[in-house]
């Protein structure tokens, strides 16, 4: 047996290489650059890398349009329009998320000065006094984004698994870095890690079963082996279900959602925004590829499961969101409900299903980054009037619309988009996903989805009413801190995108509708 070295198309790999390369350079910067300028260098590197990767993705899109899709690195990764579309959407949200992460709102960034210090210890207090910063955040985010770029493009099960881990591990760490409420943050980190590892185990077990069934980890071989189901269908189905469990865990579908509220609440808010948007995009893109390209022959077997999960996800997410009193938890449960809505498009199994999912994810991602970005700005005051942690209790936002109309209007816009009110992007997103589901014959799901979104409107509207029509409670006084500008830019971009995508979605919709041909 002779070894044939795989040809490596560096141009096609450029987006991934740029992001991961920048992450590695970021680690070296941590090692060699002086404290005083390190943060600045890291921020510039991260923003430039994400921007450059986005431009490269756009360029590769034109190349793929002209020359057709291709296999890279011996078939471990493919470059096709759905992959590039997902990468583009991930990079847009990551770029905006990075702007929020990089902002030192109120004069300090959102991360602990020293992650290794025990909460409340003198060591931590000393680090805070010295003004240390944990700039490892930036390379970690870049590593995670690198994983998210590989995830939707992976074309064999092992690459898929490694991408999953590369995107997850930095997130576990980042979840524990919040500057305030350290215990909550560490708890979130540990929970996320344990449950993530747990789901990875299921994923890996499924992967093993699929390898056992087909004798190959390549998607193409697996897809070819699926129709041949003879005697081994139990192994195949169990493997597929376990792989789906791993992916559904990442998107936060019920019953694999338990981590979502705790982790979203405990993580640094800027990280929550990034994670909620980008992880979901990458995981859904991988899920769509897996269901549409690898195991389309199993639709009949899988649809009872997927229907059940979609229904549960929409209902549980919506109902539990209604009773939340913490904004981050409310947005977390709302993101669970949104996962259910996206599942509708996934279940449709039509080409408009793919494009609607992509569009929905873009819309959802943009509004999520914007909404969490705004949450970072609203702070509590203690008895002496010092600004402390984020004011995440719902009642602390009462009357915000009077004192900070611009902020409240932007937040309202994102909420309306989440609720799917016409002329916001969320409406078009929901509309296309529902239309695709109806087209795919899943109209009972659509009925439930419409009911769920009507019910969901309740808590979004309650929030709006609270901001604009309720007198602020003097005891729960909250204040808005100044941004360095980057959060403001990110929120403004998100707000504009939310409106524009709601009014003239056609250009983007026609773009996503070109991203429906999977290559194996």
């Amino acid at each position: 047996m002779t070894f044939v070295p795989p040809s490596i198309d560096w141009a096609a790999l450029a987006p991934i290489v740029i992001v991961l390369g920048a992450a590695v350079v970021g680690v070296l910067i941590e090692a060699f650059v002086k404290d005083a300028v390190r943060r600045m260098v890291q921020v510039i590197l991260a923003v430039v890398a994400l921007g450059a990767a986005l431009v490269t993705v756009a360029w590769r899109w034109t190349v793929v349009q002209a020359q057709g899709p291709a296999e890279l690195v011996g078939g471990a990764i493919v470059e096709d329009t759905p992959a590039l579309m997902a990468q583009g959407v991930v990079l847009i949200c990551a770029f905006l998320g990075m702007l929020v992460i990089a902002d030192r709102v109120g004069g300090e960034d959102g991360f602990t000065p020293v992650a290794a210090g025990a909460p409340g210890s003198t060591y931590e207090a000393q680090a805070r006094r010295l003004g240390l910063v944990q700039t490892e955040v930036y390379p970690l985010v870049l590593f995670s984004v690198g994983g998210m770029l590989v995830f939707p493009a992976a074309s064999d099960l092992l690459t898929l698994f490694i991408a999953l881990e590369v995107l997850s591990l930095p997130l576990y760490l980042l979840a524990g870095l919040a500057r305030r409420r350290r215990l909550l943050s560490q708890e979130a980190s540990l929970k996320y890690f344990l449950l993530g590892a747990f789901s990875s185990a299921f994923f890996l077990m499924g992967l093993a079963l699929l390898y056992g069934y087909s004798g190959s980890v390549r998607f193409a071989d697996l897809a070819a082996a699926v129709p041949a189901m003879v005697g081994m269908d139990v192994v195949l189905l169990a493997g597929v279900v376990l792989v789906l469990v791993g992916l559904l865990f990442k998107v936060g579908a019920v019953p694999f959602h338990s981590w979502v509220p705790d982790v979203y609440q405990g993580s640094p808010t800027s990280i929550t925004g990034f994670m909620a948007a980008c992880t979901k995009i990458a995981a859904f893109a991988a899920l769509v590829r897996f269901l549409y390209a690898v195991v389309p022959g199993l639709t009949w077997d899988l649809s009872p499961l997927l229907w059940t999960i979609a229904i549960l996800t929409m209902i549980v997410g919506t109902v539990l969101a209604i009773v939340q009193t913490d904004i981050k938890r409310m947005l977390a449960y709302s993101s669970v409900a949104h996962a259910g809505f996206v599942l509708l498009g996934v279940i449709a199994l039509t080409s408009s299903g793919i494009s609607s999912v992509m569009f929905y994810l873009l819309v959802y991602g943009v509004a999520t980054v914007g909404a969490f970005g705004l949450v970072t700005l609203v702070r509590e005051r203690d008895a002496e009037g010092n600004v402390t942690g984020e004011a995440t209790r719902v009642e602390q936002w009462a009357g915000l619309g009077r004192r900070h109309p611009v902020l409240a209007v932007c937040f309202t816009l994102f909420l309306l988009s989440f609720a799917g009110i016409p002329l916001t992007a969320g409406f078009v997103g929901k509309f296309t996903v529902f239309a695709a589901a109806v087209e795919g014959g899943a109209w009972p799901l659509v009925v439930i989805a419409v009911l769920a979104s009507a019910a969901a409107a309740f808590f979004y509207v309650r929030m709006i009413v609270l901001m604009f029509f309720t007198d602020p409670d003097q005891d729960a006084g909250s204040t808005v801190v100044r941004t360095e500008g980057t959060t403001a830019i990110a929120v403004a971009v998100c707000a504009v995108a939310t409106v524009v995508l709601g009014v003239v979605p056609t250009p983007i919709l026609s773009l996503t509708s070109e991203a429906t041909k999977f290559m194996l």
Binding site: F198, S258, V438
Partner: protein, 644 residues
């Protein structure tokens, strides 16, 4: 095809008020000085353009009066592509003129009415926004775009009801309206889904063309959902509860949105969807029944209310009940429904403005038991309100006579039990209407004054009465009232004589042969007038000729029930809110007891670790993990079950 330059500009109808709203909202305080006039100009410009289009349309032969203007392709998603386009035809133009003309008058009125409100600019921005959204609603050429306007007017209405949101109960009223409208909106969405599923399109042209060949079951379901949507927006039974509370908004808002235009959107929806209802007689019948119930419901509630605005709101509900009843009667009723809608738009808006004028002069008092004998101090208001009152009573030759009488006649047309039920109800409704509207009129303008001019009144019996200085409102307020009063007097006769209005709508509603009611028309007219006069006479005897107590008497069971809107809130609470809250509670309970309970149960095994951190941590993660395991096992079982 003739050239139609103005019609092609129909998009400006929407763009002008929208642009004005945008300028006012974005411009902020800088536009405070002239913002309200910009709002007035925008509304007036839209009205002028509307009149221009009308004149152009009148110059065309009947067959060419329907224009579909394509604007842009909005949502291309798979097989479904939704284009944004405007449908300019006699029906939509009728609404355009009503909205822009009455709207412009109310804008003018508001300049004076809101003069002392520091947020007047924002008020005008919302009003303009409302006008734009309402025009989108009536000009849309597809259900999807109509839905945009539908939600838009809902939003504007919500913002305006809650305009004085510093009062908690007003904000609550706004939320109530929003939530109840949401129920109707769901009907609209489901109707659209059904159309898309069965016909594959949601634009009027395709849907109506395909409606004939579509399964009656689907059409009935679609029709029922459309009726549900109409009930939400038009405050029809059983979704009527929000309208009374909506009176929390400033009075011009009540006049424009909650009397003349938005609340009639449901009637528009039913008439516009005529081809769907043609294939769904059950849905049509349901609409008629709902209209009949509401017209009685509103009328009964109206008899017991002491709040002048709430009485008018109940009356609006009742009058829209007439329109929905007419629309539910099928082709013979469509034109009359719209006709009554137009005349009602004038006289009811006029009366609301009159009520606003009374409140203006009486220090924002709304309780009619504190009014009385205002005709001397507010003569213009008295006369203009009187015109509206005679119109709603249906006294010939005032407007209401021509339109309401036609609906009563149409209700008596048909076979079987229907004419014998709908007809008498419509007739009875007219009598009750006469009673409560006369009650309102006499309690406000006639009888003895239940207030006093100054503190040092000689009369001992006056000592508990409030001091008021009623005065006539400024010109900016009285002129719109006068214009609307002229409409209340003459519009009906003008449009009804020679069936002008019915002919004008024919390109949309189709030509209908005359049907004879089961009772001869002259008898019907005579009976109607007799019952109306009887109602008015009873009211005169009770509220003008004899003294009205300042504190309301306890009243009969029916009166007490009517004062609390026939227990509508209690019913809603019991039927919808409580079970809904209970479901949520149960789920929360399950979350806390099952999930947390399991966590604590597991966690107690780890008490040795000592710290709360450890206990909570281990407990939660274990329980989460066990949820996941259960999920995985069930998932595998579900999938494999199909194989075994």
């Amino acid at each position: 095809m003739q050239d139609t330059p103005l019609t092609n500009l129909a998009w400006l109808l929407i763009a002008i008020p929208l642009a004005s709203a945008a300028v006012l909202l974005v411009g902020g305080r800088r536009t405070n000085a002239w913002g309200h006039w910009l709002g007035v100009v925008a509304a007036a410009a839209a009205a002028l353009l509307g009149i221009g289009i009308l004149i152009e349309m009148l110059g065309l032969p009947e067959a060419e009066r329907i224009h579909d203007l394509h604007l842009f392709s909005w949502i291309p998603a798979g097989d479904l592509s939704v284009d944004a386009g405007l449908l300019v035809d006699p029906l939509s133009m009728t609404f355009v003129l009503l909205i822009t003309f009455v709207g412009a008058l109310i804008h003018v009125y508001s300049v004076a009415y809101m003069e002392h409100d520091e947020n007047r600019r924002r008020f005008f921005a919302y009003l303009n926004l409302f006008v734009a959204a309402m025009l989108v609603l009536v000009l849309a050429d597809s259900y999807a775009l109509l839905f945009v306007g539908w939600e838009g007017v809902g939003l504007a209405s919500y913002l305006l009801i809650g305009f004085w949101n510093q009062r908690t109960e007003y904000a609550v009223a706004a939320k109530k309206a929003f939530v109840m409208n949401r129920v109707g909106d769901m009907g609209m969405l489901i109707a659209m889904m059904l159309m898309f599923a069965s016909i594959g399109a949601v634009d009027f042209e395709t849907v109506f063309a395909a409606a004939e060949g579509t399964n009656e079951g689907i059409l009935t379901a679609t029709g029922l959902m459309l009726v549900l949507a109409a009930c939400g927006k038009s405050a029809q039974f059983p979704l009527q509860a929000w309208l009374g509370d909506a009176m929390a908004g400033p009075t011009p808002v009540s006049a424009l949105i909650h009397a003349a235009t938005m609340v009639t959107a449901g009637v528009y929806l039913i008439v516009r969807s005529a081809p769907v209802f043609e294939g769904a007689p059950t849905a049509q019948l349901v609409a008629a029944i709902i209209g009949a119930i509401t017209l009685l419901f509103g009328a009964i509630v109206g008899c017991a209310k002491d709040d002048i605005k709430k009485t008018l709101a109940a009356s609006t509900m009742s009058q829209i009940g007439y329109m929905v009843l007419a629309a539910g009667l099928g082709p013979i009723g469509y034109a009359f429904a719209i006709f009554h809608l137009v005349t009602h738009g004038f006289f009811k808006a006029g009366m609301f403005l009159g009520a606003g004028s009374v409140m203006h002069g009486m220090g924002d008092e709304v309780n009619m038991r504190r009014f009385g004998a205002l005709r001397r101090s507010m003569q213009i208001t008295w006369i203009t309100f009187g015109a509206g009152w005679l119109a709603i009573l249906g006294i010939p030759p005032f407007s209401g006579f021509w339109s309401k009488d036609k609906i009563i006649e149409a209700a008596f047309v048909g076979e079987g039990w229907q004419p014998w039920v709908f007809g008498p109800i419509a007739l009875l409704g007219a009598g009750i209407t006469a009673f409560y509207m006369s009650r309102l009129f006499f309690m406000t303008f006639h009888g003895k004054a239940r207030w006093k001019e100054s503190e040092d009144s000689a009369n001992e019996s006056d000592k508990d009465l409030p001091v008021q200085h009623p005065h006539e409102s400024p010109l900016l307020m009285t002129v719109p009232m006068i214009v609307l009063a002229v409409g209340s007097v003459a519009l009906g006769g003008l449009l009804a004589i020679g069936d002008t209005f019915t002919h004008w709508l024919e390109p949309v509603t189709g030509h209908v042969e005359h049907h004879d009611p089961v009772i001869a028309i002259p008898v019907l007219i005579g009976a109607t007038i007799a019952i109306v006069l009887a109602g008015a006479f009873i009211a005169w005897r009770q509220y003008a000729a004899s003294a009205v107590p300042v504190t309301p008497p306890e009243g009969s069971v029916l009166t007490r029930a009517a004062r609390v809107d026939l227990y509508q809130d209690a019913v809603n609470e019991a039927v919808f809110a409580t079970p809904g809250a209970r479901v949520t509670e149960v789920l929360t309970e399950a979350d806390t007891t099952v999930v947390d309970g399991a966590a604590r149960g597991l966690g107690s095994g780890a008490v040795g670790l000592g710290t709360w951190w450890g206990r909570l941590q281990t407990g939660f993660v274990r329980s989460y993990a066990s949820i996941m395991v259960v999920g995985v096992v069930l998932a595998v079982v579900v999938v494999l079950a199909t194989r075994v």
